[in-house]
């Protein structure tokens, strides 16, 4: 045991003797934190150029205020003219232009009394997409409350024969105390019941996945490094039967360091959600990543072959694990081979810690079986 710890210490010493190595680790932390900072800038899936013709129109100005305040799927910019708004769409600076007519409130009143208006809000868009059709729902939802109020007033006039003075007495619309939110959203399928956070940051969310894959990469880089040492005869003093163990130890040291750096990066960038689950799942992930890299690198006889394989494995992992996209269900059996899959699912569903716990003995068993198959030989 003492021999093992001495070796691990020496491996660590070897890695950290170079200031460059420490600087590169710190670089990773800095890049992650910097990226998190950048991702908090205003963003949205669509850019909308808005033009409001009548700057004195209270309704239009109220809508403008709500647009400027709310965080949504859409990002608004306000144009100086209808042509400028349309030009923004033509030049690709905006996905759609919303051009509000003069006297919007009057138009809605007329629509409520006499049917839909001839002149309505003009929407100019590049090409119909699902997101643009969703954006039009949002646009209508801005004006609909005012329209509903106009319908009420029109009914009170036409059906009940009430005058404007009566409205002054009975204008209860403003005071109608209706709870505005009729929906509760939760992400309980495959996870614990939990309300949706108001502010979803789909830009910052892949950071955890990127770092998880980075830990895997570090494991592979460690495997390449120790094999080069082996080729250079630096491990010649060890008996051949111990070489596989030494490779695994070195990979373990690198993965351990990388996992610590990942934890620090996540902590500093403010990404963790539940500290206890985060620490536990990260710890288990470190072990799973270590076993995975030991197992996969064992298939390659030469460091050069392993190196060529790494980029492909990384891109495949990005597709299979929920880093940027959720992979199709039929790929899930393949995804479960990658430890990053369970770790990233853990974030929203702590039950996946159990899968990580199962992954560890399963991977160990495979490694032992594989080493029995190639017993004594150079992998």
């Amino acid at each position: 045991m003492r021999e093992l710890f001495t070796r691990l210490f020496l491996f660590q010493k070897r890695l950290f003797k170079s200031y460059g190595f420490i600087a590169l680790f710190l670089c990773v932390v800095a890049i992650t934190v910097g990226f998190k900072g950048l991702s908090s800038a205003e963003h949205g899936a669509l850019k909308i150029s808005v033009y409001i013709d009548d700057r004195a129109d209270k309704l239009a100005l109220g809508i403008k205020d709500r647009m400027a305040r709310g965080k949504s799927l859409l990002r608004y910019s306000f144009a100086d003219s209808a042509d400028a708004a349309e030009g923004a769409v033509e030049s690709g600076k905006a996905d759609a232009a919303w051009i509000f007519p003069r006297n919007l409130a009057q138009i809605l009143d007329d629509a409520a009394a006499e049917g839909f208006p001839g002149e309505a809000i003009r929407v100019v868009q590049r090409e119909e997409t699902v997101l643009l059709s969703a954006s039009r729902n949002i646009l209508v939802s801005f004006i609909y409350p005012e329209y509903a109020r106009a319908v009420y007033e029109a009914y009170a006039h036409a059906e009940l024969g009430l005058s404007d003075e009566d409205f002054a007495l009975y204008d209860d619309f403003e005071h109608m105390n209706v709870n505005e939110n009729l929906f509760e959203i939760n992400f309980s399928v495959g996870g614990s019941r939990e309300r949706m956070a108001e502010d979803i940051n789909y830009i910052a969310s892949p950071i955890r996945g990127i770092l998880a894959l980075w830990v895997l990469l570090c494991g592979f880089a460690g495997a390449v490094y120790i094999r080069r040492d082996e080729s250079a005869g630096k491990l010649a003093l060890y008996p051949l039967t111990k070489i596989q163990g030494i490779r695994a130890e070195f990979i373990g040291v690198v993965v351990f360091d990388a996992t610590i750096i990942m934890g620090i990066s996540l902590f500093l960038s403010g990404i963790p959600t539940d500290p206890a689950i985060d620490v536990l799942s990260l710890l288990l992930y470190g072990i799973c990543a270590w076993l995975f890299t030991v197992f996969v690198s064992g298939f390659f006889a030469r460091s050069e072959s392993l190196v060529v394989f790494i980029p492909f494995l990384m891109v495949a992992s990005m597709i299979l694990c929920p880093v940027f996209i959720v992979s199709p269900a039929f790929l899930e059996p393949l995804s479960t081979l990658n430890p990053a899959f369970f770790y990233l699912r853990c974030v929203n569903n702590p039950a996946f810690i159990f899968n990580q716990l199962v992954y560890i003995p399963a991977a160990m068993l495979l490694i032992v079986l594989w080493s029995k198959i190639i017993k004594g030989g150079k992998i």
Partner: protein, 416 residues
């Protein structure tokens, strides 16, 4: 370039020739797998009614005429193009399984008493919209949230209108036609909601953006693959750090010659691999053997413009990765930083999500990042073309990368 440099170039050529078959086989196998997955997904999408974008499960108190009418109205009368399809489920397990299998996007559970609560205006019982935890931070989650907020606004504003009118009627002492008028305004508002597109006059100007989603993904995979390929470039220069650079210099191959010949061989291997992928895709598409592939690889991707864009993209991304490799080396630290920078620069450049989904600062930064320049070259080839600023950035960054590579090589030689 002197004779020694040419000899070194020949040596690099031999090295590349030796490695090319293996790398090429991996490239082709990788793109084949991605294409198969894309074709499966594309075929599945094609099988379904193309107008349906979101399938929504519904369960709970669905036997009310209010709910039935609402579902029929949204499915058949909704004219804004949200294109929803509702599927009724008997129990929660069945609905959860359907979400798990991606058959539906979400399911809405209508709790007992919800209809009463809405009819009375209490709104104290909420509809529960259940989604999968894996979609928690996705764009789909944002879209669903926005659609539900909109639906909520339509319902509650209508409630305000109806209850205000009822209150006015009560205060005015109108009792005889109370429910008749209530039903009338109710129906009027419901019909106005389903035909809400009449508030808008929509004009499609027919500019389809630079790319379709399939083209976008094709270009994105190329850029990501190129950016990460540098991790494999170790195999080209594996002997580095053993004094080879210095020996070459004494042998008459200067720093510039070394960097240029090595970069050239790296560029050639990367380009040849992508060219093989491109030609294979072209051959399959032109043979017409697979219909879904025609959707994934439109004609623009096989134009001369795209070929030159590919050359440009490979040049700039390879130069950046080469410079990184020169500066950071082939060790663990070098690989780490190459990976992190490759992934984050790809992200900032709009490779993982379209650039329009990202903050404006990403767009600005992307113009000056190799992955961003490469992406813009590929996306805009054959249409509007990359902007003048992108082209200027291309040359600037290319020179900067060569400068950095020369600096890195000189430093190596000093240390050797």
């Amino acid at each position: 370039m002197n004779n020694r440099s040419l000899s070194y170039l020949r040596l690099q050529y031999k090295r590349a020739k030796k490695l090319l078959p293996g790398i090429l086989a991996l490239f082709l196998a990788f793109f084949a797998v991605i294409t198969v997955v894309a074709v499966v997904l594309y075929s599945k999408r094609d099988e379904k009614d193309s107008k349906v974008r979101y399938r929504i499960g519904i369960m709970g108190e669905t036997d009310s005429s209010f709910v039935e009418f609402g579902i029929k109205a949204v499915e058949n009368l909704d004219d804004i193009g949200t294109a929803l399809e509702f599927i009724q489920f008997a129990d929660e397990k069945e609905a959860a399984r359907a979400i798990d299998d991606n058959e539906i996007s979400v399911y809405i559970f209508i709790p007992d008493g919800f209809i009463d609560s809405v009819e009375c205006g209490r709104n104290d019982i909420k509809l529960i919209c259940v989604a999968h935890e894996r979609n928690r931070d996705s764009i789909q989650a944002v879209v669903i949230r926005e659609l539900l907020y909109s639906a909520s606004t339509f319902l509650t504003a209508s409630q305000c209108s109806i209850f205000s009118l009822q209150e006015v009627m009560e205060k005015s002492g109108i009792t005889g036609s109370f429910w008749e008028i209530t039903d009338d305004i109710n129906l009027r508002l419901l019909l106005d909601i389903v035909s809400r597109s009449e508030f808008l006059k929509v004009k499609n100007i027919g500019i389809s953006g630079a790319e379709g989603i399939e083209e976008y993904y094709f270009c994105a995979v190329i850029v990501i693959m190129l950016s990460l390929f540098s991790l494999a470039a170790n195999t080209f220069f594996v002997k580095k750090g053993e004094g080879l650079e210095r020996q070459l210099k004494f042998g008459g191959v200067g720093t510039f010659g070394q960097v240029l010949t090595e970069y050239f061989s790296y560029f050639c291997v990367s380009f040849l691999c992508l060219l093989a992928v491109w030609m294979t895709a072209l051959a399959i598409v032109k043979s017409g053997i697979n219909k879904p592939l025609l959707g994934i690889f439109p004609d623009r991707l096989f134009s001369a413009d795209f070929f030159w864009a590919l050359v440009g993209a490979v040049m700039i991304i390879s130069a950046f990765q080469f410079a990184l490799y020169e500066i950071c080396g082939a060790g663990i630290g070098g690989m780490m930083i190459q990976f992190v920078l490759a992934v984050f620069t790809c992200f900032i450049s709009g490779t993982f999500y379209p650039i329009s989904f990202l903050p404006d600062i990403f767009d600005t930064l992307g113009t000056f990042l190799p992955a961003g320049i490469g992406m813009r070259f590929l996306l805009y080839s054959g249409t509007e073309g990359p902007s003048g600023l992108t082209v200027a950035a291309f040359f600037g960054i290319l020179l900067l990368c060569f400068g950095a590579s020369l600096y890195g090589r000189n430093k190596h030689m000093e240390r050797a």
